[in-house]
Symmetry: C2
Subunit: 317 residues, 2 copies
């Protein structure tokens, strides 16, 4: 049995999987919004212990625990730096070591999106392919690359398709640069754009829906409800995101010529199927070898992909 923890900006998802990759126990805790890295590490420990007990085993019975983390992840040392969507995590914190000591088992760390893509490749929608590009459409737009059946991480930071420039001198991205794909398609950027449009006087019910649902941000479920009510601003911003996603993905395919593109992440998993044809059409406009597009699929492990993928890090001994 192996443990896996996906550390997200809003939730911590833990799983215990068996040798076949079947989930034997799982638990989900909210990510602390105050405090600092030690508080987050404690919440992660709690989530894992709960998943372990749901699986009916003890922590010592796990071969190890894999962790998918945002920020700059040093796989060798287990140190995570600059995880800006986590509380007080601008600096460095030895997450791997702290959790390893707390749980009494080995830990292995990886980049959150990359491990989710690996999870999908080994156990999910990516199984049939030797080469694929995972595009994780959520708060930001992340990515992971599999080539010849193995992850390609470059010098450690490969896969940042969200920072492909789709429009030179274009919109300001949350990363501070201009014209990145994430500036058009990331949930955070879309929310900021919705605010600006609303302030300008464009009519929309999306912020009413947000409040009614007790949220303080435009979560993917808020977008979903707004789309179901055919809110014009919500529809236009999602379509805009899909157009830019298609453009950025086509550019990446022109460069890498992978067999498949997998759409995951909060928005990708939720809206992928609905917008897959639109996305295909947008990609088609820019694919250099337009008559042999890559397979385009939605991630299949759902919310657990990050945690399952993280658990698979343990295999790699």
């Amino acid at each position: 049995m192996r443990g896996g923890i996906d550390l997200g900006g809003t939730k911590i998802q833990a799983v215990v999987i068996d040798a076949d990759g079947t989930v034997r126990g799982e638990a989900r805790h909210p990510t602390p919004t105050t405090g600092g890295p030690p508080d987050v590490a404690r919440a992660m420990e709690d989530a894992l212990r709960e998943a372990v007990s749901a699986a009916g085993v003890k922590p010592e019975q796990l071969t190890g625990v894999g962790i998918g983390s945002p920020g700059d992840v040093d796989q060798q040392t287990g140190v995570v730096s600059g995880a800006r969507n986590l509380p007080g995590w601008e600096g460095s914190f030895p997450l791997g070591e702290v959790l390893s000591n707390a749980l009494g088992i080995e830990t292995r760390l990886g980049n959150d999106v990359q491990v989710a893509v690996e999870g999908e490749h080994l156990l999910g929608a990516g199984k049939p392919y030797d080469s694929l590009l995972g595009v994780w459409w959520g708060t930001g737009v992340g990515g992971g690359i599999i080539l010849e059946g193995r992850p390609w991480t470059g010098r450690g930071a490969a896969g940042e398709i969200g920072h492909t420039v789709v429009k030179r001198n274009g919109a300001r991205c949350p990363c501070g640069r201009r014209g990145c794909l994430e500036a058009y398609a990331g949930r955070a950027a879309m929310e900021a754009k919705a605010h600006r449009e609303h302030t300008k006087g464009i009519e929309t019910d999306i912020f009413k829906i947000m409040k009614k649902r007790g949220k303080d941000r435009l979560t993917s479920s808020v977008w979903d409800h707004a789309l179901r009510e055919r809110d014009p601003l919500a529809e236009s911003l999602i379509r805009r995101a899909v157009r830019y996603l298609g453009t950025g993905i086509a550019s990446a395919v022109n460069l890498l010529d992978v067999e498949a593109v997998l759409l995951g992440g909060g928005l990708g998993s939720r809206f992928g199927d609905r917008y897959l044809d639109d996305l295909r059409g947008e990609m088609h406009k820019h694919l250099f070898v337009a008559d042999s597009p890559p397979h385009l699929e939605v991630a299949s492990l759902g919310d657990l992909d990050g945690a399952i993928g993280a658990a698979l890090l343990v295999l790699k001994g």
Copy 2:
């Protein structure tokens, strides 16, 4: 000894190299502008025979001949299709077989840019790196990728960085699509833009320089002369090309995180050193991990890189 032929739109370059990769003989013939693939194949045969005799050997003494070709290259069958910058080559032609029969030796085919990048990786400026992106800035903008010391060709068409979309809904590209890097930086697109600006009344001496030098196109040497005379239109179009190159290359680096970027091709080899700092500055604006940019270098094998790289195909038996 191995032979190599680089089939270009304007010239056919042949070399013979020894086991160390040293050039023992070379020859250059103009690419026929009329006729069809058989005429082109004949000119290739002549060029190779000349290089062979310059090397003081006989064709039968070659282990084989590698060919770098534009268009859609089938490495298995040696068939080249849709090489649109060659006369009458819209369809398919069994270039490998025809040359193999004519010369009485084995031939191996590869994509022209990819083999040039491999040549640079094995014998030129790319030697120190395990992963690199070659950006071939010429009539078009081509590319080649080396990962873990080996070429990455995807499903056969990887490396098309020239068709990275740098500006959605942007300029029309010679490929017919919109906003590709090549639409701003390719020599052909720059020439078309210079014509449009000149027709609009923008002053420039570049077309006078072209005629004075007996050319019917804005070759890289015409651009060079115009720049030396500080022609404002030439300067502004080259700077624009460099800006877009920096944008497109940064996007590719964000995705692949390679150790090095190599600038080659007709314009790249000629102007690379002069504009390397500008290019670095443009890339910096868009690099996600801006504090560890890849090494940026100019290809070092010069005009022979394609032919030398082609000859290296033979090694791979």
